[in-house]
Structure formats: structure tokens, C-alpha cells
């Protein structure tokens, strides 16, 4: 049996630490804890955990700063926990290199799902040439998207948007990031493009575009692709 994956939790609230300890331990992860930024940074350096859960509201330092310092050398997933649910704070954390975020109060099932996704994404160093979800399959080498074996006609922009979402499955991609990647740097604040093309794409790939299962809206932050 392989060693259990190690998760470092940096949070000053004893109740949250207890909750996470029980939840993660009973799901087969090994947990260890830091109660402030200083301790967190040194534990991360000494233990090299597989994933870090970081609370943004730490007593000794701004969580965003801790995130930046960690990202100077730590390449594995970091999931942010925060009570500050403002869009700016979240976008900033994602820009600073967080893989995902959850706002308190959060559901533990949701957290476990996010942890699994984040860990899976780092383990897959190469992307499969063909990805399937629902009744759709994408062949990245031939750039062909099929629905139930029939070719789905996508415009170049639609294809580029879909492929970047799919390749980052489970991860929140900010508006700015998507606009830069798909349309180019000068489009980074032209959210109207994103709105229109996401709506178009949903009409083509979702069973019910009003209740999307694949392209999920993260209010005011961006979009996340779920394989349903």
C-alpha cells in the first residue's frame, strides 16, 4: 500500500482544524497543522506536503503574502479557505497561484471533491489526447469535438475556450485568465466576449444550457469545468 497523501492545514481556528483533521483523516489523508503563517511556512518547507490548505485570515501575516511566499518554491496544489468572500480577494488569491478556493462556511463534501481534483491534476503531467465527458469527446490532436459520434461544429474561438476549460478540469479559471488565453492580452477586461461565447458553448455541449453541468459559473470570479 502506498503512503497516505500528506496535507498541511494552516488555520488559526481550533474548531476548523479539528473538523478538517477528522474529515481528512477518515478519508485516508495524513494531516498536520500550523496555527500561524510562520509555523506554516516552516512546516511546508520541512515536510513537503502533497497539498496545502491555507486560511487567508492568519493572526501574524496576510494570507495572500503567505501564498506568494509559498509559491516561490512550492509547486503542489494550494487550496484557499477564507471568510472574506469578496470577489477581489478570491481573484487575487487565484492570481497569486492558489489552485482553488472555498469560502467559510463550506461543506466538507465539497472540500474533499476539490482536494481530489487538485491532487489528480498535479499527478497527470501529460494531458490525454482524447478527453470524454458526458456524451462529448474532444480529440486534441485533430481538434475534433464529437457528440455521440457526430462531429460538433465549433468555431475556432469556441474550440479554444472549451479546450482550455477542459484541460484545467475542476479548476477555477478567472475571467481575466480566460480572456488573455483565448483572445489575447488586450482583451483581458472585455468580459462581454466571455459571456457570449460561454452561452454559445453551453447551448452546444450542455443537455440543458440553463442548468449547465459542465461549465459552472463562479460568480464574479470566473468559470470552472466539471466533468459532471
Amino acid at each position: 500500500m502506498s503512503n497516505p497523501l500528506e496535507i498541511l492545514i494552516i488555520d488559526d481556528e481550533v474548531q476548523i482544524r479539528k473538523l478538517l483533521e477528522i474529515t481528512l483523516d477518515s478519508n485516508g489523508y495524513k494531516t498536520f497543522f500550523a496555527v500561524n503563517a510562520k509555523e506554516g511556512l516552516s512546516l511546508a518547507a520541512n515536510h513537503q506536503p502533497d497539498l496545502i490548505i491555507l486560511d487567508l485570515g492568519l493572526p501574524d501575516e496576510d494570507g495572500q503574502l503567505v501564498l506568494k511566499r509559498l509559491r516561490e518554491w512550492y509547486k503542489k496544489p494550494i487550496i484557499i479557505l477564507t471568510v472574506k468572500n469578496t470577489e477581489e480577494e478570491i481573484v487575487k488569491a487565484l492570481d497569486n497561484g492558489a489552485n482553488d478556493y472555498l469560502t467559510k462556511p463550506f461543506r466538507t463534501q465539497e472540500l474533499l471533491a476539490r482536494i481530489r481534483t487538485a491532487l489528480r491534476n498535479t499527478n497527470e503531467s501529460t494531458i490525454e489526447p482524447i478527453i470524454e465527458f458526458g456524451d462529448i469527446s474532444i480529440d486534441f490532436t485533430s481538434r475534433i469535438v464529437k457528440q455521440k459520434d457526430e462531429i460538433l461544429k465549433l468555431t475556432t474561438t469556441e474550440y479554444n475556450l472549451l479546450s482550455i476549460l477542459v484541460k484545467n478540469e475542476g479548476r477555477v479559471l478567472t475571467h481575466q485568465y480566460l480572456l488573455k488565453e483565448v483572445w489575447g492580452n488586450s482583451y483581458s477586461d472585455q468580459t462581454q466576449y466571455l459571456r457570449v461565447f460561454v452561452a454559445q458553448l453551453r447551448k452546444k455541449i450542455e443537455a440543458d444550457s440553463n442548468h449547465p453541468k459542465f461549465i459552472i459559473t463562479e460568480s464574479g470570479v470566473g468559470y470552472r469545468f466539471n466533468t459532471g
Binding site: E87, T157, T191, Q192, R195, V196, N210, S219
Partner: protein
């Protein structure tokens, strides 16, 4: 009128006092040949009394002093000197000065007491509001907390055996109570954001259709027993609004409808682009985006419709629950985006909330072909 004058700067108040006394004196000067100078004295007294109603004490005293001098100089013989020839006129002059002075001081005092009463009244309404807040808050927060504590006590008690089914029921009660608690905290935070004036809308292009379904998804549990209909125009353009604020607005309105309409009631969301051509183009007046949230429930009592957006206001016949914050947050967030919100009862029953925003518009067709 009064309040406008009271805001006038003190420097301008002196000017007003000087000008009015001078103008009235000049007008009186024309009548000097036909009328007794005592009439001029009375007219000047009236001017001082009028000024006392609006101006501060010092400008009023200035007008009293000035009019006394003018009376002496222009109207009491011999003219154009400050010398008074007979005892009667001296007495009149002294009396005039005393009356004008007293007039000014007394009016000032009356106004001061009036102001004090007003602040007292404001303080007592604030106290009432504060008490209403405490009442509804302690109820709204303590009820779910009691549910959580009670359920946990029962689950933990060692001398009774609880059936598995009941245990699940208790867990679900704990869950519901926490969600309710979270909803109330959310409302309180939003209210304090509004109160402290830190709500700065970040306008961005919004797909209203997506917004509606997003909110409805979040309210799935509360809408289990309702018929929900979304009617948006097929070619609805994008509107430049604050997505986060819009989410809260629609959430609160739909949540309210779900709580206060009977099971099976219909809740309808609609959005239309209102391309009202305004030839004197004024972007502030053009309300391009009109959203309605309506239901076929009982409607609101007509006499209370004006108050439902007030903070902490709760309908008289309302069932328990609710802090009276939801709709005032709606109003605050709508107005933060320069919009308007109105509430009306429908003739066929039920109520309709209408939101209109002067939002910038973009037609998706303009960019979808690229």
C-alpha cells in the same frame, strides 16, 4: 425653505441681513413725506422679526442694530444726523432698539428648543429601530442556534435510544438551522456594507438569463414546492451591472417569494430590454434593463406597500421569521447601481417587484460572429 436658509453660510447670512434692512429702508424713504416715521419703525421691526426666523443670532442682532441706526439717521428728525431733538423720539429710538434686540434673542431661543426637541425625537426613533433590530435579531439568530444545540443534546444523550430515522431527522434539522443562520449573517453583513457606504458597484457585462438560473439553482431547496418560470427575451442583450449585487437582489426577492407564498404558488422572473427612444438623450434616465419578480400569492397589504423597503420593517400579519432586512438590502443594492425598485399588487392576485436600471447595453450578435 427654512432648511435651505439654515444651510446658508454665516458670511452670506450677514450679507442677507445687511441687504434686506438697506432695501426696506430705501423703500421706506420714498414714503417718508406722506407717512409717520413710526410706520417705518414698525416695518423695520417686521424685517428684523422675519430675519430672526431664518438666520443665526449674530446676523439678526446686526440687523437690529443697523435698523436702529437707519431709523435714527434717515427717519427721526433732524434727518441725516444721529442727533435726536426731542425726548419722545429718544424714547422711541431706545424702545425700538430694545424690542428689535429682544425679538432676535427670543426667536433664537425658541428655535434652539425646537432643534433640541427634534434631536430628541430622532434619538427616540433610532432607539426604537435599535430595539426592533435586537428583537428580530435575537429571535432570528437564537432560533436556529437552539435547534442546533437541542438536536445535538438529543443525539448525545445516553439514556435514551433514538431510532436511526429520528437521528437523520435531527441531522437534517441541524443542517437547516445552520443554513438559516448563515443566511441571516449574510444579510447582516450586507446591511452593514450598505450602512457604512462601502458598496461600490463593479459594473461588468451580465447575462441576465444565466444570472436567473444561477440564483434559482442556489434556491432549489426552498423552491421545491413552487412553480418557477423564467421568461426572458430570446435576444436579450448583455447589460452592464454588478453581477454580485444582482445575485443578492434576485436571491432575496425569490427567497422572499418562496417563504411568503403558499405551496404550489407560481414565481415568475422576467427580463426585458427596454429600448425606449429618448430624443433628449440622457443616459441617466434611460432605463434599458427592466427585471420583474412576481408571484401569484396573497400580495402585500396596500397600506404597507410603501414601508416594505424600510429597514427592519415587517408586515403586521407576517409569520415569524425574517429580520426585515431582505427587502431593504434589495433597495440599497438596486440604488447603488442607480436603479429603481417598485412593488405593486397584481389585479389578479399576487405581487410584482419591478427593477429598472439605466444600464449600458451590448448586443451579443455584434461579437458572436468573430
Amino acid at each position: 425653505m427654512k432648511s435651505i436658509l439654515r444651510q446658508i453660510k454665516i458670511k452670506n447670512q450677514y450679507l442677507i441681513s445687511l441687504c434686506s434692512v438697506s432695501i426696506v429702508s430705501v423703500l421706506c424713504l420714498f414714503t417718508r413725506e406722506y407717512l409717520d416715521y413710526k410706520i417705518a419703525a414698525y416695518i423695520l421691526l417686521v424685517v428684523v422679526s422675519l430675519l430672526a426666523m431664518f438666520l443665526d443670532i449674530l446676523p439678526v442682532l446686526l440687523s437690529a442694530f443697523l435698523s436702529a441706526l437707519i431709523l435714527n439717521f434717515l427717519f427721526i428728525k433732524p434727518y441725516y444726523t444721529f442727533h435726536i431733538s426731542n425726548a419722545e423720539d429718544t424714547l422711541l429710538f431706545v424702545l425700538f432698539f430694545v424690542i428689535a434686540f429682544l425679538n432676535g434673542v427670543l426667536t433664537h431661543k425658541i428655535r434652539k428648543t425646537e432643534k433640541m426637541l427634534q434631536t430628541k425625537q430622532i434619538r427616540s426613533t433610532t432607539m426604537k429601530l435599535y430595539n426592533a433590530l435586537l428583537d428580530s435579531l435575537s429571535h432570528e439568530l437564537r432560533t436556529p442556534i437552539s435547534a442546533i444545540m437541542g438536536a445535538i443534546d438529543t443525539i448525545q444523550s445516553q439514556n435514551v435510544t433514538i431510532s436511526e430515522e429520528n437521528k437523520l431527522q435531527l441531522y437534517s434539522e441541524i443542517e437547516k438551522a445552520s443554513l438559516r443562520l448563515n443566511h441571516q449573517v449574510e444579510n447582516l453583513l450586507n446591511m452593514s456594507r450598505l450602512e457604512s457606504g462601502v458598496v461600490e458597484p463593479k459594473m461588468d457585462w451580465c447575462d441576465i438569463n444565466e444570472l436567473f438560473y444561477n440564483v434559482l439553482d442556489n434556491l432549489k431547496e426552498d423552491l421545491k414546492f413552487h412553480k418557477v418560470k423564467v421568461s426572458t427575451d430570446e435576444n436579450l442583450p448583455l447589460f452592464k451591472l454588478d453581477y454580485g449585487l444582482m445575485e443578492q437582489i434576485i436571491y432575496n426577492l425569490v427567497f422572499n417569494a418562496s417563504q411568503y407564498t403558499p405551496k404550489g404558488a407560481k414565481i415568475e422572473l422576467s427580463a426585458v430590454y427596454n429600448p425606449d427612444v429618448d430624443f433628449d438623450y440622457n443616459s441617466d434616465k434611460l432605463e434599458s434593463c427592466v427585471i420583474t419578480v412576481s408571484d401569484d400569492g396573497l400580495g402585500f397589504p396596500e397600506e404597507e406597500i410603501d414601508q416594505v423597503f424600510d429597514k427592519f420593517y415587517r408586515l403586521h400579519n407576517s409569520k415569524t421569521g425574517g429580520t426585515g432586512l431582505g427587502l431593504s438590502i434589495v433597495k440599497g443594492f438596486v440604488e447603488a447601481q442607480n436603479g429603481k425598485v417598485t412593488l405593486e399588487n397584481k389585479e389578479e392576485g399576487g405581487s410584482v417587484f419591478k427593477l429598472s436600471f439605466p444600464a449600458l447595453v451590448m448586443n451579443p450578435k455584434e461579437i458572436s460572429n468573430e
